[in-house]
């Protein structure tokens, strides 16, 4: 749906040239939630602004639904922008307008008549869950509510794409989850393509289908979220994945549990996809005569299924341990015996 080819942006500052976005090519499918993650200064903010040409690209091409954005004239670009919604880290609402008037603003810009505008705004207020707050001013709202207004405003002209520029970075964790849930429900309900940039892996894990990792203006890794999580290739990606399950990469703490004792075995269970939901551990403990001692681990839910790692100690007779490991393997979970290397 959106195809980005060799997109670059260079800035000329007084004493140096900054390559903010460097030869980025991506294909984004219709209806997907595509995440771009990177540390600050990676160029992701510039990247998202190139997509609606708030920043003019130095070179490269962007096509949206077979139409080249990069070649549009000023007027056509303005019209096209009405079909590309955008939400911001600091919400960027007009404080002089009420919630209702803020959401109606893009409709005013598009020249929609008062009656249709009212219907649309009422519908959007309902959609983002702000009923009853129509006449409040932004200063009377909480951060999460402000972002809801931002989302409603971005959806007013029925956009084809929604760009999210660090949309949850100014919110507390709980509000972040609420806003992310709202984005997922909008994505499903309206079949809306969402491109979001963030520095929080949690956001990517929770709602994105695919992810691109950016570093120094370049996309260094791209793929399905689950795949990238399970098998991160680049160093930056690994660091981001580690944000979510810091213990997983901390074998030091397991050392004390690993002994020569035949009746005890420390194993690493790797859950990929749907199986992680099942109560596998209880099943093992019930069916086999072993004690299962959970040492550390974490399971994350992604849009494509669950994924996670669990370190457990199996305590019992050697034969039974082998049998239970086989059972776990047969349920589609990877099993790896951890030894002191």
């Amino acid at each position: 749906m959106i195809s980005i080819k060799k997109l670059s942006k260079r800035y000329q500052t007084k004493d140096q040239v900054v390559q903010a976005v460097d030869d980025v090519s991506l294909e984004i499918e219709k209806g997907e939630i595509f995440g771009v993650i990177g540390y600050s200064g990676a160029g992701k903010s510039t990247f998202v602004r190139l997509l609606n040409r708030l920043e003019e690209p130095t070179s490269g091409e962007i096509t949206l639904d077979q139409q080249s954005l990069t070649q549009l004239g000023k007027n056509d670009l303005r019209k096209k922008r009405q079909k590309i919604g955008m939400i911001f880290q600091h919400f960027n609402l007009l404080w002089s307008r009420t919630v209702y008037e803020n959401i109606a603003f893009p409709l005013e810009i598009a020249g929609v008549d008062k009656q249709s505008s009212k219907e649309k705004v009422d519908e959007l207020i309902e959609l983002v869950g702000l009923k009853g707050r129509e006449n409040s001013y932004p200063s009377q709202l909480s951060g999460g509510q402000k972002q809801r207004v931002g989302i409603a405003r971005a959806l007013a002209n029925d956009p084809e794409v929604l760009l999210c520029d660090e949309a949850t970075s100014a919110l507390d964790p709980e509000t972040t989850d609420d806003i992310l849930d709202l984005l997922v429900s909008i994505n499903k309900k309206l079949k809306l393509t969402i491109i979001l940039i963030t520095h929080e892996m949690h956001v990517i894990q929770k709602i994105c289908h695919r992810v691109a990792v950016m570093e120094q203006g370049k996309v260094v890794e791209v793929g399905d979220v689950l795949e990238v999580f399970i098998n991160p290739k680049e160093k930056t990606t690994k660091r981001f994945v580690q944000q979510l399950s810091p213990l997983e990469h901390d074998p030091e703490r397991l050392k004390d549990f690993i002994t020569e004792d035949e009746s005890k075995e420390v194993v690493k269970l790797h859950f990929v996809g749907g199986t992680a939901r099942r109560s596998l551990i209880s099943e093992v403990a019930k069916q086999f005569d072993v004690y299962v001692n959970i040492l550390q681990g974490s399971i994350s839910q992604t849009q494509e299924g669950s994924y996670g790692t669990l370190f457990v100690e199996l305590d019992g007779e050697r034969k039974v341990i082998e049998a239970s490991m086989n059972y776990i393997r047969n349920s589609g979970v990877e099993v790896e015996v951890v030894t002191n290397a």
């Binding site: 922008r81 911001f88 960027n92 007009l94 002089s96 200063s139």
Partner: protein, 222 residues
């Protein structure tokens, strides 16, 4: 009692002078507002990185504004006499004071407008652009709306300065409370007339300040 304290004050003259002062102030505040907004917008929009970023126009506007702000008001009135004569067909009375009052205070207000516009969150302008807003929409529905309390506050300050200017203009024949205080009060050693005029001018200033604060507070939704 009042007549004993103010033996030389003729109430009719005082009211006429008050009316003239109010007339000069109100008309010149309106003129200053319009001219100041235009100049202020021009200063802001042509500044680097803004919508009409243009070094030449910005430089010219800034120079004009600075030059007119640098000229002391009493000298500006004198310099503008031919222009006033041409425009108003007279160089005496409250009407004749208007061009000098407006030209003298608009550059000052323009700077206040520029400051007010600079305070508008750049993110909001970016948001409007991302919605596909035209430049005039951004000017009238974002910039001027979002800076309204500061624009009103600046106008209050300017209006009060203008009341002072009307008194100066009065000294060279524009009429109003300044004229009355100088001609009938100071020149004839009638201190009571000077004092009465002062009380009236202070009252006018207080009313303007109060009205400005009231409006500013009402429209500030931050």
């Amino acid at each position: 009692m009042l007549e004993e304290l103010f033996p030389n004050v003729i109430m009719e003259n005082l009211w006429t002078a008050t009316y003239e002062t109010l007339y000069m102030t109100v008309i010149s505040v309106i003129g200053t507002f319009i001219l100041g907004i235009i100049l202020g917008l021009l200063l802001y929009l042509t500044d680097r990185g803004n919508l009409w970023s243009n070094r030449v126009i910005n430089g010219i506007t800034a120079t004009v504004v600075n030059v007119f702000r640098a000229i002391p008001f009493i000298i500006l009135i004198l310099l503008l006499i031919p222009f006033t004569d041409f425009l108003m067909d007279t160089i005496r009375g409250p009407k004749a004071a208007l061009p000098a009052l407006i030209i003298g205070s608009a550059p000052f207000y323009a700077r206040l407008v520029e400051i007010a516009l600079k305070e508008v969150d750049k993110g909001v302008i970016e948001a409007a652009k991302s919605m596909g807003a035209k430049t005039h929409t951004i000017i009238f529905k974002v910039l001027l709306q979002e800076s309204k309390p500061a624009l009103v506050g600046g106008l209050t300050v300017t209006a009060i300065a203008l009341i002072g200017y009307t008194a100066i203009a009065g000294v060279i024949g524009a009429g109003g409370l300044g004229d009355l205080a100088y001609m009938h009060g100071f020149q004839r050693r009638n201190n009571d007339v000077v004092f009465a005029c002062t009380v009236f001018i202070v009252a006018i200033v207080f009313i303007f300040q109060w009205a400005g604060d009231f409006v500013s507070k009402r429209i500030d939704k931050r």
